[in-house]
């Protein structure tokens, strides 16, 4: 059952990810990205990380991608026209991807030969309580640094927007 669900949603994730790149219309790309996020959430669920799965949907699919779609709709961006592809890209693109994937799997095998295979539902420490405790004890400094970083980004956005108004 788990394996079937994994195969189904992993396939959906990969197909949607390809579709993000292939689609010419920005809204279609954004929607494919939502599909990727949602199927990744299901994969997290299969691992047994319920909180991370829900956070994935709430934050990425529910908030960030809604903003993306909102902006695309607001600008009313039309479909992009396809440019003539460069010869290098069309001839070397696919072989280079295969070589890259091969190198990745080779090094993964080389450096992590004894890593345990992933088991469904075996992920421990994914409950909201555990994550909260880890965030506020072990990882307190990185957590706070990230939040300050986001605050700086928001302030920067406001400053940029203000300048345009004047």
């Amino acid at each position: 059952m788990d394996v079937i669900l994994f195969l189904v949603f992993a396939t959906i994730a990969v197909v949607c990810a390809i579709s993000v790149v292939v689609q010419t219309h920005p809204i279609a790309s954004a929607l494919s990205l939502v599909g990727v996020m949602a199927s990744l959430a299901v994969l997290y669920l299969l691992l047994g990380a319920e909180f991370i799965a829900m956070a994935q949907v709430v934050v990425y699919a529910g908030a960030i991608m809604v903003l993306f779609v909102f902006v695309i709709m607001l600008l009313n961006a039309g479909a992009e026209s396809k440019s003539g592809r460069s010869l290098v890209a069309s001839w070397l693109g696919i072989p280079l991807i295969i070589v890259f994937l091969g190198l990745m799997s080779f090094f993964a095998q080389r450096w992590l030969p004894f890593a345990d295979p992933v088991r469904f539902g075996a992920f421990k420490g994914g409950s909201p309580r555990d994550i909260g405790r880890a965030l506020f004890t072990q990882y307190l400094l990185p957590f706070e640094v990230v939040s300050v970083l986001i605050l700086i980004a928001i302030l920067g956005a406001i400053v940029l927007a203000r300048k345009e108004l004047d």
């Binding site: 929607l31 908030a63 809604v66 779609v69 909102f70 709709m73």
Partner: protein
């Protein structure tokens, strides 16, 4: 095997009851609005217009299904599907009542209890925005586009105060499972005051209850925040190009969202299925008393009919109400259905508030809507969360 059979039966019952409720909410809303405006409301189809929902369904199904030209077909067809699916899924984690015992089987009055149930509802409802936004964009119509844009901006803005308002009672409940949240609110202070989150110490959640309700009105696009479908500016907003069952799905999604939000407010703040006062003070008699009162009122009006049809229809309803009241006195039935009665009563009252406000308040202006969310509701929710956190930490 037994588990599967019970689950399928439960799912079928919940789906049937929910869909019937959605159809009749429409009737109730029209009646409530009509009585607020001193007119009788739907009256032609069936006694007191009771068959009106059925007639509406037949009308909507048999209507011509128009597919306008120049729409983005895929998104246009997916939008109503998406919004009605997302609206109906979230009911699966709502606990309607306590344990249910019948024919030797014991089960919970809830389809499934996730340990992240609350987050699940938030996640599903945040995905519901896509239905509205896509419908507005795919229709290729400026009114629809404006409605969709307004709706997505509004839902993103009001999700923040809503989540913060939800977080405050969670600090007191210390769990994300909806069933456990309700169980934590059982018991009574001083022997009569229920320990619901809006009454319970260390910080009574009365403020976050109101913030939640206000944000919920905006999330469900209801008056006074129904800017996405403001008739006088946008014709019908995001669903202006939809007809037949596709239009009906948006309608159903709106009512299903109302049901979910009312149930969520009941669970988080009003103690779910916990009765208002202890059984020792006679809370078990409330349901029979209400049904008996309704039955007597029906019989009185049947004997003094204001309209011709009342002589035939009202005795039937009066007898049904009296029978229901008598059945609720049977101990085994009462043990199973009393929690459901309290849950339905509280959620039903909140649904009535939705309609009451629709009949009372005018619509906000769009800039008022946004500044209200960001300059008042959000800081208020933040302050409430901070206060609750301090008090909870101080007490423990």
């Amino acid at each position: 095997m037994e588990f599967f059979v019970i689950s399928i039966i439960k799912a079928a019952v919940v789906a049937f009851v929910l869909l019937t409720t959605l159809a009749y909410l429409q009737w109730v809303e029209r009646k409530v609005i009509a009585h607020i405006q001193v007119r009788p409301g739907p009256y032609r189809v069936g006694p007191h217009g009771l068959l009106q929902p059925l007639a509406d369904v037949v009308k909507l199904i048999t209507k011509e299904d128009v597919l306008p030209p120049h729409v983005n077909k895929f998104a246009y067809l997916m939008a109503p599907f998406l919004s009605v699916t997302m609206a109906l899924i979230s009911i699966s984690v709502i606990p309607f009542g306590d344990q249910f015992q019948a024919f030797g089987y014991t089960t919970w009055m809830q389809l499934t209890d996730l340990n992240v149930g609350l987050l699940f509802i938030l996640a599903i409802s945040s995905m519901g925005v896509y239905g509205v936004a896509l419908a507005g964009w795919a229709s290729n119509n400026k009114y629809a586009l404006l409605g969709g844009l307004r709706s997505s901006a509004q839902m993103i803005s009001y999700e923040l105060p809503m989540s913060l308002a939800i977080a405050a009672p969670l600090l007191m409940a210390n769990t994300l499972s909806l069933r456990e949240i309700v169980q934590k609110q059982g018991g009574y202070a001083f022997g009569f005051l229920p320990q619901w989150n809006i009454f319970q110490g260390p910080m009574p959640q009365i403020f976050s209850f109101f913030i939640f309700i206000i944000a919920a009105f905006a999330e469900t696009n209801r008056v006074p925040f129904d800017l996405p479908e403001a008739e006088n500016e946008l014709v019908a907003g995001f669903h202006v190009e939809y007809s037949s069952m596709k239009f009906a799905s948006f309608f159903m999604a709106e009512y299903a969202n109302m049901v979910t939000v009312s149930s969520l407010a009941t669970i988080l703040f009003l103690g779910g299925w916990q009765p208002l006062f202890p059984v020792t003070l006679g809370s078990g008699l409330v349901a029979p008393a209400i049904f008996a009162f309704a039955g007597i009122v029906c019989w009185y009006h049947a004997l003094h009919p204001a309209r011709r049809g009342d002589r035939k229809s009202l005795p039937v309803f009066g007898t049904i109400f009296l029978l229901l009241g008598a059945v609720m006195l049977v101990p085994s039935v009462a043990a199973n259905f009393m929690p459901l009665f309290w849950f339905a009563g509280k959620a039903g009252f909140l649904l009535f508030v939705f309609m009451w406000i629709r009949g009372t308040l005018p619509r906000f202006r769009y800039d008022q809507l946004m500044s209200f969310a960001w300059k008042f509701l959000f800081p208020a929710a933040l302050l409430n969360l901070l206060l609750t956190a301090w008090l909870v930490a101080w007490v423990s």
